[in-house]
Assembly symmetry: C2
């Protein structure tokens, strides 16, 4: 079968169908990476992915496919939190870094005050 | 019809079906919030959501529903990047904060060196 159409995209191979000339999947799911389509199919379903892509301008579809694949991979790895778990981790990291920054800036202020007091007492 | 079963959950209302006693959706999709189910249905499809929830231990399903709703809402608002756009923004914010922190810590080091040089010259 695949001898008849060796260029069938990964999505059409997975769905065991002919790959049409205007296939919505074929620009983004090359036959050498079957796992990529399997991921989005497992989480969103082929029909939903096709619908989402068709509703987008052609030039934005590659980015949309990448973000859908990323979210799907995260959801397979972490079925409870998906990539929202990553968002929580990043928010915690920002809060920690901001707290550390505030403390460091406070240290500067304190040392500047001390320094100016020292200079003041030298001239007394 | 809804008079006969006023407690039908938002998912079963949306799918125009009877809400079974062991409905996988009903603990998480109360009838007073139809939008919540509409979002996940639009992005994942009811069948995929049901399948994902059934594969999870019961005590983790509420969190899974919240993260799926969050991702679905992000995808509806930003059909190209979804919540991956938010991850990129957070990563940029972390990089900015870390650069600012490094600069602030360098300032402290410089001012400490200056201060110790001043003290040194005072004793000369």
């Amino acid at each position: 079968k695949s001898v008849m159409n060796p260029k069938r995209c990964a999505a059409c191979r997975y769905l065991r169908r002919r790959c049409p000339k205007d296939c919505v999947f074929s620009p983004f799911f090359p036959p050498n990476n079957p796992e990529k389509f399997a991921c989005v199919h497992r989480i969103y379903g082929a029909g939903n992915v096709s619908k989402m892509l068709q509703q987008l301008p052609v030039q934005t579809r590659a980015e949309a496919v990448e973000s859908l694949c990323f979210e799907a991979t995260c959801r397979i790895e972490d079925p409870v939190y998906g990539c929202v778990g990553m968002i929580s981790l990043l928010q915690t990291q920002i809060q920690k870094t901001e707290r550390l920054l505030a403390r460091t800036q406070a240290e500067i202020t304190v040392s500047q005050i001390k320094h100016s007091q020292n200079q003041h007492s030298e001239f007394m």
